[in-house]
Amino acid sequence: MTLRGDLALISHLINPHARVLDLGCGTGELLAALQAEKNVNGYGLDRDPANIQVCLSKGVNVIEQDLDAGISNFANDNFDMVIMADALQAVRDPRELLRQMLRIGEECVVTFPNFGHWRCRLQLGFRGHMPVSKHLPHDWHNTPNIHLCTTMDFEKMCAEENIKIIQRRVVDTRYQEHWAIQLAPNLMASHAFYRLGRPS
């Protein structure tokens, strides 16, 4: 199975047999792959009935739960890794959710579209429009993305929360890393992946 580019990047970070919680698991693509390839004991949370139905057909442990209602029902230290792929910007309280993720899991992986990307800046700064792109395909009035941020914003919050950034990967729209992005990630990266650890 070939995973969507961003999910393949996440998959590399997961150890075999790990216990994984995927927040906003969508159609369960990542979990199905982790279950098949790494024998991972994984669970996914989602609130969309159509997604849940697809997860069931794949045999994924999908649990219907709205992230905005919190994840306080999960016990401390219950998971090796808690993943949130491209959902951070769509939840009501991303900061609290991040705290909860690191309470439940030993580590977590967070990915989001970088609003600091030059295309976004161009569209807003020069054309005067809210950015619309491959990763941010919605118009301002129908977007689920209510908490967009840049990599700098995100790292600032991590510093404030004392969250340890174990690893960062910044990529272009095709999920490729190259030198230009490393040089000026907040300007050049269209997407960011963070592997985070508990406050030291």
Partner: protein, 383 residues
């Protein structure tokens, strides 16, 4: 997943006489007992496609199809059992029985007590969910079924499915608990107690010996059913179905007025007394109140699930307040913590607790997909 009108057709109930004594949870011994059951579909050669249905408070063995051509109504779970339905009889061999203590043909309060030669009545021992599961396992032995592909139940039936997963981990491939709970809330027990008081306060209850005297506590049992019935519906659902529609009379004329909802409830209550036994009702509600698998593990539900090895599907309905989605979430949380494979869904429905009996599209699709996937995994057609 199709939920069409496909049916299993005409069904003849079967009887299993168990000569093996059953020691109940409370220490009482049933020297022998009978279970009435039905089956739908065909057991495959390696007997890997069996599915057990566990019924709820007022249920019985007749879950699907009809008993005769002029039967006005099919079995109680016909919406979900049949060719191409969620519990697909083209693929599964479905077993459905009337539980011990029931009043539809299995040994219960209406049966003759071998010790006295008289009807058991109130002397029928209290049976609990675990006892049912043990008697169901005896039925499985009788049918040559070593492992059920899945055990499925709604409400009290879901509790039996959970108990199966705990007590017979090697005999269950998947457990589906629908609109159920790991234990009843105080409010839920309270409703059961009101129902029991309604029965007990009927003079014709005669301390449970009504059958001996050739009478029946129709008023009390009918009232118990009316109370229960209201709790199985939602405010919105009743509003949609009845509103404030008046069946007879006119407020302006100063008449005695009967609302449609009153007429409906009175009818339901009375109809119930024709096919249900008051002592069975007491027994079933007590089994509901008693159920709490965590009692054996110092109140720790996670620990109670430790023995389970099957996959779980936990379904609930948005408007169900008698067995709310929160109760199902508690089961899910414990299963996740116990590292069991579990999936869950909260189905949008305005039909309250009764939703689990209805052909709600998302519900039957989720149930069918999960069960079919389990069967595919078992038969090795998936990697």
């Amino acid at each position: 997943m199709p939920t069409g009108s496909a049916t299993v057709g005409k069904i003849t109930p079967q009887h299993f006489q168990c000569a093996e004594p059953l020691t109940l949870q409370n220490g009482a011994v049933l020297p022998a007992y009978e279970l009435v059951y039905e089956t739908y579909g065909t057991l495959n050669d390696n007997k890997s496609n069996a599915l057990l249905i566990c019924h709820a408070l007022s249920g019985h063995h007749h879950a699907a199809g009809v008993h005769s051509d002029d039967d006005p109504k099919p079995g109680w779970w016909d919406a979900c059992i049949g060719p191409g339905k969620a519990m697909d009889t083209n693929r599964f061999f479905v077993v459905s029985l009337n539980n011990l203590g029931g009043c539809h043909g299995s040994t219960g309060p209406r049966s003759i007590n071998p010790d006295t030669g008289k009807i058991y009545g109130p002397d029928f021992p209290n049976v609990v969910v675990r006892d049912w599961v043990r008697s169901q396992a005896a039925l499985a032995d009788h049918l040559g079924i070593e492992t059920f592909a899945a055990v499925v139940g709604g409400s009290l039936g879901g509790m039996q499915a959970l108990q199966w997963a705990i007590d017979y981990p090697q005999r269950v491939g998947a457990c589906v608990a629908i609109a159920s709970a790991a234990k009843l809330s105080a409010q839920n027990i309270a409703f059961n107690e009101i129902a029991r008081q309604a029965i007990g306060s009927d003079q014709d209850f005669a301390e449970g010996r009504y059958a001996d005297e050739g009478i029946n506590p129709d008023r009390g049992l009918g009232l118990a059913r009316m109370i229960g019935h209201v709790t199985y519906l939602s405010d919105d659902g009743m509003g949609t179905k009845f509103g404030r529609e008046i069946k007879s009379g006119d407020f302006d004329e100063g008449d005695e007025v009967e609302f449609q909802v009153e007429s409906y409830l009175n009818y339901q209550g009375q109809a119930f007394t024709r096919y249900f036994d008051a002592n069975t009702y007491l027994l079933m509600t007590k089994a509901l109140d008693h159920f709490d698998p965590a009692r054996d593990t110092d109140g720790d539900l996670v620990e109670a699930f430790r023995s389970a090895t099957c996959k779980f599907l936990i379904l609930s309905f948005s408007s169900d307040w008698r067995f709310s989605a929160q109760r199902s979430q508690e089961i899910v949380d414990a299963l996740v913590k116990a590292k069991k494979n579990v999936a869950s869904a909260v189905i949008e429905s305005e039909h309250g607790h009764d939703s689990f009996l209805l052909p709600i599209e998302r519900y039957t699709a989720a149930l069918g997909t999960f069960l079919n996937r389990c069967l595919d995994e078992r038969s090795g057609t998936l990697s």
